[in-house]
Subunit: 352 residues, 2 copies
């Protein structure tokens, strides 16, 4: 895409470029981008539909995130929702509202991020819309998926074990870092870390960034920034057959676990000791004067799967607790119990 | 919904209220609002998916439109896209991003508009998201529909007749009026006009509004304001079996007809004489010093269906022209021809 303002290029020309860039044939797509609606062949599976919106100044800050990362993240967030139902993502629809003075380079970069994500998740862009705002940027995506068996939030049973698929708190800690450093980092998906590059000279490189905080190295903070800026959704394929309930951790462990408990009409007992805290989180949180446990319990956007499975099943995931009849407690490392409630990020609520 | 700020009510409480208010059972919905994604039973029909975004300051001005009308219109716009493929709308997903200081009354009213629209179109709200912006309002909706036979933009054949389903230019003229009057009108769907009320005393009334423009009466401008603020999508059921191609008039007749021609690789000859201009448009455009023909050709948001059918078929719609091999001409009432191109509202382009 050549470099000009959207007002010069025009909406139709832009749509035509997107259409060409994302053109992908599939026998199941009867009509793709470019008509009033996409048309898809019937499949003998359950249809999953999810949608998410990302608004500048609320869900993202262009002082911290690149347009590439924005496109990648928006796609991942929606894929995560389809995965959380035990499904496979298929078709993506994208709404982009940008300022009319936005440079086409910005849009091209945003679409590159979407493209890398849809390749990663093996999905196809089939439609959407583009429009101009007078102020900030708003994006929304809708993702359709299919599954034979869906996994609800409401299926947890007393005695089930509670699992997560990876580190908690990394994303929130990454965001705290970005708020301090106040600039974006040009991380892209597929670009290898310094460590990986040392092992394989053919991988896509990116420049290691200098961290303007004395005592913190790039190697230490990179996984945190990556989880915040380029989250990858966790495919539940390996354990979906055992899961009795599932949700993705988008708003924070406590709030999402509370949702799962409420829907399943059960309680939960979770063990701080079992919590998956990354070395990067521990070091960086200490440096920032933050509690890694608090970040892990209340920080949002980790996009790890949180699920339950019968205690008799062998599940390859991190066991953090058990489903109880009704009490909701956190057990700390010395065995002390304290009740928990849905404390995580809630939109609209004034943060205290 | 009691009257408070969203920051007092909180996101979770709001979602719970929406969930209760829109709870509707259907044997085809396995999981509705409240999980990570909606889950729908497989149907042996083609799936249609469309999405649209409406951003404050671009697609609407809260100085002109009420939140009720906004909710109704957003739904109609998406239904119109499903209709334009020859489909029946089924499931709606809604993304709402509003300022955190927005009053809950505003949201309740917006949702009332959505509700009246989904009742009108016999669809069901099955999911979505709600979030807070620091500035304006952004809405997006995704609609899933089904059809046995879909109608593309690309099926028009040389010799086919071109039809529209109703008056053109009314919506654009309504918008010009609103820009002059600079205030919203509390029109709602189902509320009867003065004329209808005179005939049937049991119908839902609304106060006729005074029009602060001397020489214009409420009766004259009401259909124009209604088309702009509360557009109803046109169900193509009666002629879908004959239609060779179809599109809804959202960006203006010329731009949408040009799209249909480009996709079908054909031209078109349209007759000004045949153009459906409402008495309200003629009078009001004259009053405002505007050309009703220009409004009908280039004005957007009429949401009438524009379709083609073989000349041999008897179609109950307004015949405005014929599909040609390649030339695109408008024939005026004295028989003069002039070429046309896609002149309609284009986002980003600086309007001349």
């Amino acid at each position: 895409m050549s470099d000009m303002k959207l007002s010069q290029l025009g909406e139709l020309a832009l749509l035509e470029q997107i259409r060409k860039s994302f053109c992908k044939k599939s026998k199941n797509i009867l009509v793709g981008i470019g008509d009033d609606a996409a048309v898809l062949k019937p499949l003998d599976k359950k249809l999953l539909l999810t949608t998410d919106m990302m608004v500048e100044g609320v869900h993202f800050d262009l002082g911290f995130i690149t347009p590439y990362q924005l496109g990648f993240k928006l796609t991942s967030v929606n894929v995560s929702d389809i995965y959380a139902m035990g499904g496979k993502p298929f078709y993506l629809l994208l709404n982009i509202a940008v300022n009319k003075d936005t440079n086409t380079k910005f849009i091209a970069s945003l679409l590159d991020g979407v493209k890398d994500a849809i390749i990663l998740y093996d999905t196809i862009l089939i439609g959407g819309d583009i429009s101009a705002t007078n102020t900030g940027i708003a994006l929304s995506a809708t993702l359709a998926g299919y599954t034979k068996k869906h996994i609800k939030r409401s299926g947890a049973n007393t005695g089930d074990k509670i699992y997560v698929t990876g580190f908690l708190g990394d994303s929130a800690c990454g965001l705290e870092l970005l708020k301090k450093i106040k600039r974006p980092f040009p991380l892209e998906h597929g670009a290898k870390s310094m460590e990986q590059r040392a092992e394989n000279k053919n991988s896509v490189p990116y420049a290691p960034c200098s961290i303007p905080l004395e005592g913190l190295s790039w190697n230490m903070v990179e996984p945190l920034l990556k989880r915040q800026l380029l989250p990858e959704a966790r495919n539940p394929k390996k354990f979906a057959q055992y899961a009795t309930s599932m949700i993705d951790v988008s708003d924070g462990l406590l709030i999402d676990l509370s949702r799962l408990c409420s829907e399943s009409k059960v309680g939960a007992r979770i063990y701080i000791e079992n919590f998956p805290l990354s070395p990067a989180l521990k070091k960086t949180a200490a440096y920032l004067g933050l509690s890694p446990i608090k970040l892990a319990l209340s920080g949002g956007e980790d996009y790890e799967m949180l699920f339950t499975a019968p205690a008799t099943k062998k599940v390859k995931a991190i066991h953090i607790g058990e489903i109880t009849e009704s009490e909701r407690v956190i057990v700390d490392s010395s065995g002390r119990e304290r009740p928990f409630s849905a404390k995580g990020y809630q939109h609209f609520r004034n943060q205290k």
